[in-house]
Every structure is written in structure tokens, then in C-alpha cells.
Amino acid sequence: MIILILILLLIFGAPLYTILLGSTLYSYQSADLPLLIIPYELFGMSSIPMLMALPLFTYAGYILAATEAPKRLVYLSSNALRYIPSNLTLLSLLLAAFFAAITGSSGITIIAFGGLLFAMLNEKYSEDFSLGFITTSGGIGLLFAPSVPMILYAIIAGVPVYEFFYSGILPGLFIMLLFYGYSILCAKKLPVAEKINYDIDKDKSIATYLEAILPLLILLAIYTGSLAIPEVAAMTLLYVVVVEYFFSREINVKQMLACLEESMALVGSIFIILGVSLASTNFIIDTGVPEKIFDLLAFFITSKASFLLFVIFFLLIIGAFLDIYAAIIVVLPILVPIAQSFEVPLIHLGIIFIAVMEIGFITPPIGINLFIASNRFDKSIFEIYKTTLPFFLLMLFAALVIAFFPDLFLIRG
């Protein structure tokens, strides 16, 4: 009865943390365990080092997205890449990757760059291609450092975050390459693009160049290991605030406060689910739920390959309903012990997890990016379904290849 009520509340839009809390309270009460563990676990998060990076990276990303920086980056990189065939799609992929990685949200790319890139792409590609491409490319960056979902996965699965970042490079590039190759096939005409006449405002030229080197600085700091990831996050935030407030002067204190409220709301909603789920995870593990699920699955899933297929299928469904953070926090604690029993390395599982969740954003009927794009471009949701289908299939193909040929992709840090 209680479970039914919780499911109904979940379907009707109750916040996920309340559902988790309800089920945890009920489980603890039934097992006569002290409820004090719940706030204890919540407070215990303050000692997890990597978690500190989440609010800082997210806030920096929101500030960048609130300025004209995306527009400047589009023009600047478009001219820099103009001798490369199908340069606009490559540019879209790179920018989407950077923004998705730093904000942890693929939807923000559609909002920040969508209008501008759509207009530019539409000149060289069909409208369907342009729409589908922008809607789907936002998720690709989640496999690159400093991807916030990757940090969260590393914390929960207990894998070294640097190694996980290294392992994400080739799968991320593989998906980008598939998209890029497809864009070349779909181009109306392939000659290289002309130079875009865009005069950078002299007052903003320093800001533009400082913004342009930011992705390189972040990657350099992370991959050389010169700074710890929370330190990179804090330095990124400081850099973004200085550049946007003092050099580009496109954001004032009031707007920064609005960005703070919005970004912290996202991070806060993740933290509270994480805290409650840490308490429920203990209960799940103590009562042997993963083993029971494993025993149940053993009837249908007999090999590592069938397990990987099951994971992809399962995550596709989950990804259409749940946000990536919620999925990582809720699903992972159950999935990890099962994956270990099938001898799937947790880093490999993590790459599959993130890659499939990227597809979840565009999985009909309710993938979140489909709704954002429908709203942003004022198109019906069915039109968006149609335009994203080829990209959905490309990403699914990529996920299958990554799942079944891990040796081609996973590199060690």
C-alpha cells in the first residue's frame, strides 16, 4: 500500500527526494533502525571532497551561459575552423561539449547556443538536420572532463575520478566523430564555409580571448593533475567572474545573484537526493536487495554480454524519465554490485551509463531535451521526435560499440 502511494506520488510529480525519504523512513521504521542515520548521512556529505566541485562548476557555467560569451565563442571558433569541412557542425559539437561538461546540463546548450547555431546551420543543412543536431549534440560533452555527472558517478561508484575522466575521452570523441561524419553526409554542399564577418567589439576583445582559452585551461589543469578537481572548479569560477564582470562587463551583481540562485537550486536538489539516498543505500545493501535482484536476473541474464544489453535497455527507459543526476544517485547503488558480479569494470559501466543517459535526454516520449527544443524552436514535439531519430540511432550504435568493445576505448590515466 505504502509503495503504491509512493509510486503514485512519484508519477504525479512529487520531488524525488521526498519519495526516497518516504521509502527510507518506512524501511527504517519497519526494520526498527534509528532514523537519525538519515540526517547523519546528509551531514556526512560535507566531508566528501569531490562534491565541492559541483556547486562551483555549475555556478561558473550558469554565469557563462547568461552572458554573450556563447555567441562570441561561436563566431570566434567558426572563423578559426573555417578551412575544415562542415566546420559549423564541428564547432557546435565542441561548444556543446564544453558547456555540457562544465554545467552538467545538456539542455543549457540548446538554450544558450540553440537560436544562433540553428540559424547558422540552417543555411548549409536541412531544417530537420539542424533541429535534430542541436537537440542531440548537447549531451555529448558529458563524457569529457570536468563533467559534473562523471564526478558524481565517480563518488558514488567509488572509482578514481582522474582515471574515469581519461576513460571518457575516446568514447566521447567517438560519438563526436559519428555525428561529424553524419553531418558531412547530410550537408547540402560541402565546400568550406566562408569567413563570418563578425567584428569583435574592441572593448571585449580581451574578454573574448580569455573566454576562448578557458576550456584549454580547465583541461590542462585537470589532465596534468596540477590542481585537484575541486580546486580547478574554484579557480574556474573565479576566472569566469573576473572575465565576465571586469572584462566583458556583461553581467552585473543582480544577474550573478540570479545565476547563483538558479545554479544552487540545481545543486541543492542533487545534494538532498544524494544525502537521503546514502541512507537508503545502506539499508538496501544491508538487506541484500542487489543480491536478490541478481538472483532474479540470473534467470534471464546469463552472461556479461546479456547484462550489458540489459543495462543499455534499462538505462534508456530510466533516462527518458529521470534526470541524469537522479538516475546516478538512485540507480547506481543497485547496479554496481550486480555489475561487479558479472565482472564488468566500474569505469566501463560508468562510461556506458553516461553514454546511454545522454541518449535518454532525447528518448521519446519524454526525454527532457525534446521538450526544451520544442519550446526553444517553437516546433511540435512530434516534429522534434522525427528530427532527432537519426541521431538517436547513431548514439545507440555508439553506446553498443562502447559496451561491447571496451578495449578500443578505455584508456588508463
Binding site: L9, P55, Y59, L238, G268
Partner: protein, 166 residues
């Protein structure tokens, strides 16, 4: 009577919002400053401040927990809200009221549990980093859940008042 109660709770909420935003911005500034000084000290002067990492983690945690209040206030908590869009308006309002009532109950429970946690740390004289009273640092939790409770209450009452007016 109801109108003045609604006005009172909305005013209280507005003051809390302002206070929380100011605290959050200061927390983030402190985190960045602590990290910056740690990075500079390590790379330029070859030493590290002993507790800076732990304190900056704690401050970032506090900022994120305050973010949970913003998420409540702006209805931004992670949920599955796609399905509710299939319901028509009058039914939607009743569902929203039920959800808010449920959230009110849950945040109330979290508030009571976190008060219990603080009292327990106080009674056992637990220390943070071996020096500072832990209960003082844990006070963030009851505050966050109290504020979330008030926000849910304000949302619920405003919705009921709107329904009564229509």
C-alpha cells in the same frame, strides 16, 4: 484572518530568501578565497593550511544545502513532471495541493530528525576538526529544512487561497 496570515508568511519567506541569498554568496566567496589561498600557499610557499580543505568543503556543502531551499521555493526539485502535463487544469491543482502537503510532511520530518542530530552532537559534546562544537556547524540542517517547510507552507497556502478565490 486568512489574508493576513498569507501576507505574514509571504513576508517571512521574502526575508528568508534575501538572507539566504546573501549567506550563499558569502559562502561561495569564502570557498573560492580559501581554495585560492591554499593553491597559492602550496605552489609559491610550499606549505598548506591544515584545515582549509575541510572548511571549504563544509562551506560548499552549506551553500549547496541552501540551494535546496531555492529549489523548493522555485519548484525546481528533480522530479518526473512530464506526466502531470497530461492532466487538465482543475485536476492538476488538486494534485499539486496533495504533492505540496506531502512535501510539507516530509520536510517537517527532516526538520525534526535534524534537530535530533544537533541535540545529540550537543549532548555528546562532539567536536568538528577536534576543536569546534559540531552542533553549531550542524545547525545548517535544521535551518534548511525549516526554511523548506516554510516555503512549502507558503506555496500550499497561496495555492489554497487562489483556489478559494476562483
Amino acid at each position: 484572518m486568512l489574508e493576513s496570515f498569507i501576507k505574514g508568511i509571504n513576508q517571512l519567506e521574502a526575508k528568508m530568501r534575501y538572507f539566504e541569498l546573501v549567506v550563499t554568496i558569502f559562502l561561495i566567496i569564502f570557498v573560492v578565497l580559501l581554495v585560492l589561498s591554499q593553491v597559492l600557499a602550496r605552489n609559491l610557499f610550499f606549505f598548506t593550511f591544515e584545515h582549509f580543505d575541510s572548511i571549504s568543503r563544509l562551506l560548499a556543502f552549506d551553500a549547496a544545502m541552501l540551494g535546496a531551499i531555492f529549489a523548493t521555493r522555485n519548484s525546481k526539485h528533480l522530479n518526473i513532471d512530464n506526466l502531470i502535463n497530461f492532466f487538465k487544469s482543475p485536476k492538476k491543482i488538486y494534485i499539486r495541493l496533495i504533492i505540496l502537503l506531502w512535501c510539507l510532511f516530509m520536510t517537517g520530518a527532516l526538520f525534526l530528525l535534524s534537530v535530533e542530530l544537533v541535540l545529540s552532537a550537543y549532548n555528546f559534546n562532539d567536536r568538528y576538526l577536534g576543536t569546534y562544537p559540531l552542533w553549531l556547524i550542524q545547525l545548517i540542517l535544521p535551518y534548511v529544512f525549516l526554511s523548506m517547510f516554510v516555503s512549502n507552507l507558503a506555496l500550499l497556502i497561496n495555492d489554497i487561497a487562489m483556489k478559494m478565490r476562483t
